[in-house]
């Protein structure tokens, strides 16, 4: 008859052995709790950055998916536009909002100065559903309709042009026939965005107004915002089918630098986790090896009275997993408390100028995903298991006779 594995008694023995050296094990437990809490907090801050990055990229007129005419990205002119039927409505799963725009490079002139900008013709109601214009601080009035002949300019640009609300400016751009066109417009409002570069680049007017200036009925882009970033590939495929002659692209294809930063965050989380856990594993291995060496005689006796090597191995592994599991649970609790304490975000306004290029805003809000908590739990237990391999191997190598002679 083969011996069954007495899990209950092994668990009891493991728990009591941990309690036997409680001072040492409490210190180890504290180290695990701190490491896991720091990892979780760091993860949530990185996730917060990632979420901000995505929000910023999507809101900065990119959307999750955008339809452009072939060649528009290299030559953004109205000649690279496409016709959009007036009754068009996208039918996409997880659609949060959409709009079509006319966006061409142009020049803005005030009485004082001239600047190169991006002229953007919008449908104001649709634009507010999907872009950063919904979050700006606006002085003056917003555009009323696609036929509104006034313009919105950024505060930084207004400062450069030394102009104000109600003043006239002139917009110049190349029309659909390749000739330069210009027209005068009155400033309806001045917006303050999260980034000065947005304020300096984008000048908004009604879509139909810009189409009239360009002498074209085309739009240059169709931008779509989704509820879930994970649905973007499916949305791209559907849009590509609907607009077979145009190019549908996801935000990560349109903004490769942001996409690589976005992916880097995932890698950074794993690197950070691995460094913390590797440091912790040394402590764990050291404690367990010490524990095994102290109990060599006892382990030899267990082998002598008939405990199978595999059962002995299980006992050492169980000791390791017990302390790691407890530490990870407490660490997750402590990490969640830390995230909760920082729920209003960390003010980074001192460094705002520098962090804009990293797609961050002035307040970094931690984001705790259940997936990240689960990953910390599972990977920590895996580390605990790996860390116990060497001590367990040493325990199994104990020869009963040699051990009991000590």
């Amino acid at each position: 008859m083969r011996t069954s594995v007495p899990v209950k008694v092994l668990a009891q023995l493991s728990a009591r052995n941990l309690w036997r050296h409680r001072r040492r094990n409490v210190m180890l437990l504290g180290a695990i709790v701190l490491a896991v809490a720091f990892v979780l907090l760091a993860n949530s801050l990185l996730r917060g950055w990632q979420a901000q990055m995505l929000d910023t990229v999507v809101a900065n007129l990119t959307g999750h998916v955008k339809v452009l005419a072939p060649g528009y990205r290299d030559d953004p002119s109205i000649q690279r536009g496409f016709e959009l039927p007036a009754e068009y409505q996208p039918d996409l799963p997880g659609l949060d909002g959409w709009t079509s725009r006319v966006r061409v490079p142009g020049v803005i002139l005030s009485e004082r100065d001239t600047r190169g900008v991006q002229l953007v013709g919008i449908d104001p109601a649709q634009e507010l559903q999907i872009s950063f214009l919904a979050d700006v601080l606006l002085e003056g009035e917003f555009l009323a309709s696609p036929a509104d002949r006034r313009v919105l300019i950024g505060a930084a640009l207004a400062e450069q042009l030394e102009t104000h609300i109600g003043r006239r400016i002139v917009l110049m751009t190349q029309g659909s026939d390749g000739r330069n066109r210009e027209a005068g417009y009155r400033i309806a409002g001045i917006y303050r965005a999260s980034s000065e570069s947005l304020e300096k680049v984008f000048v908004f007017t009604g879509r139909e107004v810009l189409q009239t200036l360009l002498d074209s009925e085309a739009v240059t882009e169709l931008s779509v915002r989704l509820v879930d970033n994970g649905q973007r590939d499916q949305a791209r495929e559907l849009l590509q089918r609907q607009f077979a002659e145009q190019e549908a692209s996801t935000w990560d294809e349109l903004e490769p630098m942001a996409a690589s930063m976005f992916r880097f965050v995932d890698t950074a989380m794993l690197i950070w986790f691995s460094i913390m856990m590797a440091a912790l594993a040394f402590g764990l291995v050291n404690t367990l090896v010490t524990s095994v060496m102290e109990r060599t005689r006892e382990l030899g006796m267990l082998r002598a009275i008939g405990m199978q090597p595999g059962v002995l191995l299980l006992q050492v592994v169980m000791e390791s997993l017990m302390i790691v599991f407890l530490g990870v649970l407490l660490g997750i609790g402590a990490g969640m408390l830390a995230v909760y304490a920082l729920a209003d975000g960390i003010d980074l306004s001192q460094w705002t100028a520098g962090i804009e290029s990293y797609y961050m805003s002035s307040v970094l809000v931690p984001v705790l995903l259940p997936y990240d908590v689960l990953r910390v739990l599972v990977l920590s237990l895996l580390f605990g298991l790996l860390a116990s391999a060497f001590p367990a191997w040493r325990a199994v190598r104990v020869e009963p006779l040699d051990a009991m002679r000590r």
Partner: protein
Amino acid sequence: MSEQDFVVQCRGLERTYHDDGVPVHALAGVDFDVEQGDFVSLAGPSGSGKSTLLNCIGGLDRATAGSVTVGGVDLASLSSSELAELRLRRVGFVFQSYNLIPVLSARENVEFIMQLQGIAAAERHRDAMAMLESLGIGELADRRPGELSGGQQQRVAVARAIVSKPVLLLADEPSANLDSHTTAELLQLLADINRQRGMTIITATHDPAVMAFARRRIGLQDGLIVSDQRDEAAG
């Protein structure tokens, strides 16, 4: 007497160690049989081979040559895992230093073997308590080894060794850490177990008191049996 009546049979048993490359013959060809229900003491000076012989019989050490049979099973044919199984189910051990598990109570120490054997909780609890009661230490069941005297710990060790009714009880210098009074109590206990339960006992000892309790006294010197006496009135 037929072969089935012998619990232990040793034939040409040799065990050679290598000490810095120099061969040391701890057992140099031992032949002896132990009958069911016998009480045997292996005696001799240090280095005579008595502990080595006990360890070979208990499956803790392997013979270099010759054979050991326990309960009809040739130990040389068993893997180390099967030897562990044999030690768990058929052989009870009492060690010189008690070797109880310090984090378990007396009752839990006795139950431990039965837990490894997969015996149900109610049964092992009942058997462990009955065993401790029968050895006169029932009231100490919830104490841990650190809270017991040497004699009490050795009684717990005996209870652990015999609770699962092994065919053979091996005791290596069981009185080495005990005073004379406690030694006498322990020997009386072993003699009672031998007589009342019919359990075969083999001890390795220096102690004349232990030898006096055994019905059969085997003398060893330089790895060989030099005397084999029987005293039916002993114990």
